[in-house]
């Protein structure tokens, strides 16, 4: 008997057969496959770019809050010793990075240095300025910006409730405005991402539907030969997953390239405002996450197409 020279051992197993058929179908229509993958890649690259940027924007709020300090003005009857002790006590509290005590004398000296009101002060006869503690909040970069703002405000409220404290000063209004602008931006981007993701899902679903039609004869013959439902659907599910895997890879590459183009002018703009803000480059984890998400999207698109009620040539068997 002739020893046949045929494909690999694996391609004659059920799963190997399904994958071999899927890859072969993609390769045989290489131009159509490339166009579909490119459409999928470019469609999903935009949400990916926004996602890359959103992490940096979240840090922007934290950085902005981190640059702010809380100035706690003590009552006039708090002695210099008690004021220094107050600052030392708070140094080790949760949510506080460090504190600086400014005594009444230091405050007066600073005031005299920065203003021309020496005569007016002399007329008062005694130092009217209170001692103050400058508190620098401890910012956790892993925490979202809005949570950070709430934490800093809660810290300020704790100071306000103390008898030894006369007044607490903190300017978080501009941070709140930045926070609102970023929230609006995120909502718009999220909606856009949802629409583009749905578009991607439709592209995959339609491609898989065409693939189903192209493979109808093979599926009919396989059914006659006793193929189970899983045998019939497996190549289609693999095709959807392959589209997702390859489309996701293209999306991740396009997004990374586009992001690197955006990074330079964005960093330059931040530098002009003397901001330490910089767009962070996407991490390997983010890159792989995009590929994984789009791969899952491909599988979901294929499942939705294969198991929808009108796919009678599969579901009835």
């Amino acid at each position: 008997m002739i020893e046949p020279d045929v494909g690999s051992r694996w391609s004659y197993t059920k799963r190997g057969y399904a994958l071999t058929q899927s890859v072969r179908q993609l390769r045989e229509r290489s131009v159509a496959t490339f166009i579909t993958l490119f459409v999928l890649g470019t469609t999903l690259a935009l949400p990916a770019v926004f996602w890359f940027g959103s992490a940096s924007l979240s840090n922007l709020v934290n950085r902005s809050v981190g640059e702010e300090s809380i100035t706690v003005y003590l009552s006039l009857d708090v002695s210099e010793l008690d004021g220094a002790a107050f600052a030392k006590d708070w140094q080790n509290q949760t949510g506080v990075k460090r504190t600086t005590y400014i005594s009444r004398a230091e405050a007066l000296a600073l005031f005299q240095e920065q203003t021309d009101l020496n005569d007016a002060l002399a007329a008062l006869g005694s130092n009217p300025l209170p001692g103050a503690v400058v508190v620098y909040p401890n910012i956790d970069p892993a925490v979202p910006g809005d949570v950070t703002v709430e934490r800093v405000e809660a810290l300020a409220a704790r100071f306000k409730a103390m008898n030894a404290v006369e007044r607490v000063q903190i300017d978080l209004d501009w941070v709140r405005r930045l926070q609102s602008a970023l929230t609006l931006f995120r909502v718009i981007v999220s909606l856009l991402a949802v629409f583009l993701t749905l578009t991607g899902l439709l592209v995959i679903g339609n491609t898989v539907r065409l693939e189903l039609l192209r493979r109808q004869r093979e599926m009919e013959v396989s059914t006659l030969l006793g193929a189970s439902r899983s045998f019939l659907t497996r190549p289609i599910l693999y095709t959807g997953t392959l589209y997702g895997l390859l489309g996701g890879s293209i999306a991740a590459v396009i997004a990374t390239i586009a992001y690197s183009f955006i990074k330079t002018p964005a960093d330059q703009l931040a530098a002009q405002y003397a901001s330490p803000f910089r767009l962070a480059l996407p991490t390997a984890g983010q890159f792989l996450t995009i590929i994984a998400v789009v791969t899952a999207l491909g599988l979901i698109g294929a499942v939705m197409t294969v198991f929808r009620p009108s796919s009678t040539h599969i579901t009835n068997r």
Binding site: E3, V6, G7
Partner: protein, 241 residues
């Protein structure tokens, strides 16, 4: 082996493709299923292959009572039989070897067994040297032989042939017939649907004759019911109305 008990198959329009058909075919038999076009031959074969479900009546093939057969077991049932089609139903996007190997892949056979069985089946139909070719380059008769090789590669106990010689000239039809006889001689039951009078007259095997969806007698049956005379030691179908 195959028993039809008052089986009917109706279209949605209410018209019957098969009506009250009853017969029994014994294991190892070779039986012609004949009748004019539209008489219900293909419908009967599709019922046996569980590609259609009867409107009424019951079918038994081997130990499988179709009325009790769960849908998830239908593929397994189909794998236990071989089917040869008039248009051979080959896939032209792959080689002869891969066409014949398909039932074995579906059945989950080991690669070593796939190679051995495919080449043995091709050897039996005289086409082992063409295993690497695409079937499209083969003649109609050769393609039909590939179809037969695919039908028998998993060594089924029952072979259903739906007008396998319908598109072939007389000489090649003879070759196909001889191949099916070889398989029958090795114990495979064959139900051969045809209206080729040359074959029907040339081989005096029992016949199931359909007319307008009803089972009727032919010359070999005579008027006393539908009890066939055995034509060979292997073929003893009994037909009852």
């Amino acid at each position: 082996m195959i028993a039809f008990d008052r089986v009917s198959l109706a279209y949605r329009t209410g018209q019957f493709a098969l009506e009250e058909v009853s017969f029994t075919l014994k294991p190892g038999s070779f039986t012609f299923l004949t009748g004019h076009s539209g008489a219900g031959k293909s419908s009967l074969l599709r019922l046996i292959a569980r590609l259609e479900k009867p409107t009424s009546g019951d079918i038994q093939v081997g130990n499988e009572q179709y009325s009790r057969l769960k849908p998830r077991h239908e593929p397994r049932l189909r794998r236990s039989m071989g089917i040869v089609f008039q248009d051979n139903q080959l896939l032209y996007d792959r080689s002869v070897f891969d066409n014949v190997a398909l039932p074995l892949i579906i059945g989950g056979y080991r690669f070593k067994d796939v190679k051995t069985r495919v080449m043995a089946a091709l050897e039996r139909v005289g086409l082992s040297d063409r295993y690497a070719d695409n079937p499209i380059v083969l003649s109609g008769g050769e393609q039909q032989r590939i179809g037969i090789a695919r039908a028998v590669v998993a060594r089924p106990k029952l072979l259903l042939a739906d007008e396998p010689t319908g598109n072939l000239d007389a000489g090649i039809s003879e070759e196909i017939m001889k191949l099916l006889l070889q398989f029958n001689a090795s114990g495979v039951s064959v139900l051969f649907a045809t209206h080729d009078t040359d074959l029907l007259n040339g081989y005096r095997f029992p016949q199931l004759v359909l007319d307008g969806g009803r089972l009727t007698a032919d010359q070999t049956v005579g008027g006393a019911g539908f009890s066939y005379q055995p034509q060979s030691p292997n073929s003893e179908p009994e037909v009852t109305s």
